[in-house]
């Protein structure tokens, strides 16, 4: 598998923006900073949602990682701007570990670099009409509906759902996949089957 810090990064829009920030006087490459923020903030937020399971904590992580990244680029401490993706992923991982330890550094950074946070809008995840989802759920076979409800009520993995249903994790995954595929196509009829 190709790692994030391989040369392809140098041609990416993220790397180009990072190079412009690093080459400019601190704070003078506002357009590049906004571009980098627009590209990477939603990804950092998504990482936070996945690993912290909390929208507010994910937003905090996103802000912390982006301010840290821009500050490191401005100050020249991120010596290889082409590897900005690798840096951001590493920062996300460290921040998750810090958050789990209740580290205060994150809040200190947010206070110090609050001005940088104004440069781009927060990406908002798509939302589906809940009545439409409910209607589509009703159309699923009972077993698939039950597995989806038991899965998504609090985002349980297949093994936990299987234990609650008295069946194997593999069986749950098969039913879950079938159900989610039908649900996606029902909620968004223009979508292809996965």
């Amino acid at each position: 598998m190709q790692a994030l810090d391989t040369p392809v990064d140098g041609d990416s829009p993220e790397a180009r923006a990072a190079r412009r920030i690093a080459a400019a006087a601190p704070g003078e490459a506002r357009d590049a900073e906004a571009e980098l923020y627009r590209l990477l903030a939603p990804r950092a937020r998504r990482f936070g949602l996945r690993h912290l399971r909390d929208a507010h904590a994910a937003a905090d992580l996103m802000q912390h990682v982006m301010t840290l990244t821009i500050e490191q680029l401005r100050s020249g401490q991120l010596r290889e701007p082409d590897r900005v993706l690798s840096f951001v992923l590493g920062a996300c991982r460290l921040t998750v570990m810090d958050q789990r330890r209740g580290d205060r550094r994150r809040e200190d950074l947010l206070e110090r670099y609050a001005d940088v946070l104004q440069i781009a809008d927060l990406h908002v995840a798509p939302r589906f009409d809940h009545e439409r989802v409910a209607d589509c759920l009703e159309r699923l076979p009972e077993r698939e509906r039950s597995v989806l409800v038991m899965t998504f009520f609090d985002d349980q993995p297949s093994e936990a759902v299987g234990q609650q249903l008295g069946c194997s994790a593999g069986n749950v995954r098969v039913i879950r996949h079938r159900g989610i595929d039908k649900l996606r196509r029902c909620v968004d009829p223009g979508r292809r089957a996965s």
């Binding site: 598998m1 190709q2 790692a3 994030l4 392809v8 990416s12 939603p42 990804r43 998504r46 990482f47 949602l49 996945r50 993706l85 951001v88 992923l89 996300c92 991982r93 995840a125 798509p126 939302r127 589906f128 009409d129 809940h130 439409r132 989802v133 409910a134 759920l137 009703e138 076979p141 009972e142 077993r143 509906r145 039950s146 597995v147 989806l148 409800v149 038991m150 899965t151 998504f152 009520f153 609090d154 985002d155 349980q156 993995p157 297949s158 093994e159 234990q163 609650q164 249903l165 008295g166 994790a169 995954r173 879950r176 996949h177 989610i180 649900l183 996606r184 909620v187 968004d188 996965s194």
Partner: protein, 191 residues
Amino acid sequence: MSATPQHHPSIEALLDYWLDDGDPAAIEAIDEHLMRCDPCGQALDDLVALGDGVRAAFRSGAVATMATDAFLKRVVGRGVQVREYRLPHNGSVNCTVAPEDELLVAHLETPLQGVERLDAVVTLSFAPDVQHRLEDVPFDAQAGEVLWLPKFDLIRNAPAHTAEVTLLSVDADAAHELGRYTFRHQPWPGG
């Protein structure tokens, strides 16, 4: 298939990733992939939003479903106000919904050993000619009961009526009645 910068993870792999169903190496690979691939990130966002929709539909009582006691314990553990009725085999109950209730659950005791497939048929007294058949209901054979979670938002506003649930064991040859349960619903007094 594992994710790499060149190979986009499937929807199934993204769902495994979100639900923590993959091994740590697969999760790391998708972390890396999502850091550079916005289309896959948006596909994941869609899945998460769909999961939010399922949760919202369930919490609002807009879907009926069958579940198990282990799942119910999770729901109660999350602070959901649940009204439960326990019906013995072939039993009946007078039931209602209080204003503070958020979920209605019926425990239907029934012998499940040896059952291959379980169906449930629901009829309502105000529409006696209409049968709602739930096919291939999930169940834990060891539990000796099935949990029915009816459409709560419908029942909350329903007038007095009787609902009958018939559980059927279905095999290759025929369907055999396992049990029949009667719910005599009354609206909450003054509700």
